[in-house]
Amino acid sequence: MNRIEVVSRRTFLGSVFSAGAFVLAARVLPVRALTADVDKAAWRPSVYLGIDTDGTVTIVAHRSEMGTGIRSVLPMVAAEELDADLKMIKIEQAIGDVKYGSQNTDGSCSIRDFYDAMRDAGATARLMLERAAAAKWGVPAAECKAQSHQVAHTSGKKLGYGELASLAAQQPAPKKEELKYKSPAEYRYVGKELPTVDRDDLTTGKGIFGIDARMPGMLYASIERSPVLGGKLKSYDDQETKKVAGVKEVVVLPGVTPPHGFKPLGGIAVIADNTWAAMKGREKLTVQWEPGDNASYDSPAYKQSLLETVRKPQKAVRNIGDVDAEFAKGGKTVEAEYYAPHLSHAPMEPPAAVAEFKDGKVMVYAATQNPQAVQDTVAAALGIDKKNVECHVTLLGGGFGRKSKPDYVAEAALLSKAVGKPVNVTWSREDDIRFDYYHTVSAMYMKAAVDEKGRPTAWLQRCAFPSMMTTFNATTTSASGGELGMGWINVPFDIPNHRAENGPAQHHVRLGWLRSVANIQHAFAVQSFADELAHNAKRDSVEYLLDLIGPARRIEPAQPTRLSAKYPLDTGRLRKVIELAAEQSGWAKKNPAKGRALGIAAHYSFLTYVAAVVEVEVDSTGKIRISRVDYAVDAGKVINPDRVKAQFEGAAVFGTSIALMGEITAAKGEIQQSNFHDYPVARMNEAPLETRVHIVTSDAPPAGVGEPGVPPIPPAICNAIFAATGKRIRELPIKRQKLA
């Protein structure tokens, strides 16, 4: 069969380990979808696993790879229980299909949600192989043991997994209670720092991202959109556009009405032979837009309205004791207001996808965190059934939540239908920054009544921000339970009177989740205010934070979720990461010099306990250098410690960008930033010089890793700046503040 394989997406793990086994990736993707290798396997003991007669074990990676290592790490859980030889393992990226369960690679939940399923897949296959061997040899199964890709009998005879595959396929599937799992002492892969399957491709330019996907006859599109969300096209002139060499067609995509969901924004698409011609042709368009209602959006005025909202009583979303009665006693109180602006995801690969519409069906190659949402969104946009949308997932050049929202994939599909050829849609950086699903903008008001030791007897926290749920329900004005559950209603402090409130806010841009979501503003306010109270009381920040948290105990959730029983909030684990970060950073021996100091913040998110101690140096001109970050992390059981460390190293940089420089603003409804000159992100000389990640060894169920490193960084940096300079930062980004 003459077919071209996307080798880099069907990689033998062995190639990482055996020298010279280097494979070239094909540059042209197949016109018609291939049957997945796993579907052709002789034996399919699980939806995630196939074993062939030659011994090849194909493991399906159904989650998207955007840099966490998940497509390598999760299959290792199955490989471990199967006791498979790494050289015989092939990892195959799944297309979008409900049979795999959720593929929405978001919320730091891939390991947490699929650890058991992958473990069961491996353990099921191992047991069936042992039983197949026992049946063949006519011996008790208890005398047979699967190990290193072979089943061995106590007599010494052996059969390979490949030789047993067809026989094992005849075995009845065991019940879950029959499965036996390896003990951690027997682990070969879990807990080991294995390289990822994509490592070599990513150092040679061979990895295929959404922007790299190619189909024969493919054209390239660049789309001009209304600068104000919801603006209507009044008129346009494309005469000059059509004179640009390489421009093929100009297609108008209709605008959409709220809620925007994942629907394409609409606009004028210039379609050309190559990306450059499409972009150049687009520059030559003359377009008139009717801006519409969102032209009222001005960031300075909006900021004032949010601050006014949080200065007044709002709806209580969590209430313990009676803060009002305590405040009424007239004792000493401390107040502070905090503000955090909109942020843009800015993944290095802007949104990009290729789609081909043919015979009523769509085939897509996309950098997407959620291929099933691609199916739904493309189907809705084209009015076809979702089963007629086949979504192949490429590597993602960063995601951070942006690529869960497949508006750009639907654009490619609509344009392919319009021009009758495959179309690659590549957003420019300007498109990415100006038409994002932004992280929200927020204001927080905090007030505490304190006793003679400076400890709060009452604590009030009030927030207001437009909810990201407005993307799905345009009339929403209050935060969702999910957003409030991110470090707002579950602040684990031991305070007798504690109230959290949330006030209303209107939205004017598309909002969405960005790495660690509402935890960003909540941790900023709560952990900054805790530090303010510590200094107010002239107490050590670490000692004070531990006192606020109180003794080790389990906290009943204000809003129980499906995970509450398995993952109770345990303040003992939070205390432990604070103590560990303090110890490893040399907190007790700290010797703050003028302009150099440590700051701490701790935050529980995505079921993971994190503390960060940050050392900052502020020079006489106010320039900040972050010399060191010490993270302590309790994420439960860890599959690949190296990838966990990498996620936290990266989170320190992401958090630094948020703290120091991230800010999206609107004027007359138009986003004012457009590229890395006015939406800067941390560069090497601005990033922490050294990040050390101290992982707590734990047998607790695995928790989140991708996001929880972000929230403690902005408050820890601000707390360190206060310790170094006496200047309290209550508004992000820090670049807006004068430190000298």
Binding site: E193, T203, A245, A277, M348, E349, R429, E649, G650, A687
Partner: protein
């Protein structure tokens, strides 16, 4: 007609002379290892070598690339064993990997100029290359490791 060499192979191009080298590499000759990140010389994802010097291919027109030698990540080392690539693998540098071609090409130009770069040299050479995943610490480590090997 513009003539140039890409990874040692002679090439001819007769399209728009103002087209950035980036799009020629990616869309015309399918060398997609060089990435688009900003289109404005702000992020370094498109870094290649032109006559041995690190250049942003999004800011290099085809006419200015005429008669030049262009080296991309695909041509850096035939066996993918440039000391930087080896060090990159040993340090498990990449996360999403998208910016890494540009990072490696920029670092390769640095090592040609400074066999043993200091932290300040590395900051100064690499600050134009953004990594949104935040792999800077490992990039620094890998550059130092490669410098040791080269020495």
């Amino acid at each position: 007609m513009i003539r140039l060499k890409v990874n040692g192979a002679p090439r001819q191009y007769d399209g728009d002379p103002d087209m950035p080298l980036l799009w020629y590499l990616r869309d015309e000759i399918q060398l997609t290892g060089t990435k688009f990140g900003c289109g404005a010389g702000l992020c370094g994802a498109c870094t290649v070598h032109v006559n041995g010097e690190a250049k942003r291919s999004c800011q290099t027109t085809m006419k200015s690339a005429a008669d030049k030698d262009v080296l991309t990540i695909e041509g850096l080392s035939p066996k993918a064993d440039h000391p930087l690539q080896v060090a990159w693998r040993q340090c498990n540098v990449p996360q999403c990997g998208y910016c890494q071609s540009g990072q490696i090409m920029q670092a390769a130009a640095l090592l040609k100029q400074k066999a043993k770069p200091s932290d300040a040299d590395i900051d100064s050479a690499m600050r134009g290359n953004i990594c949104r995943c935040g792999t800077y610490q490992r990039i620094r480590q890998a550059i130092k490791q490669a410098a040791e090997v080269k020495k």
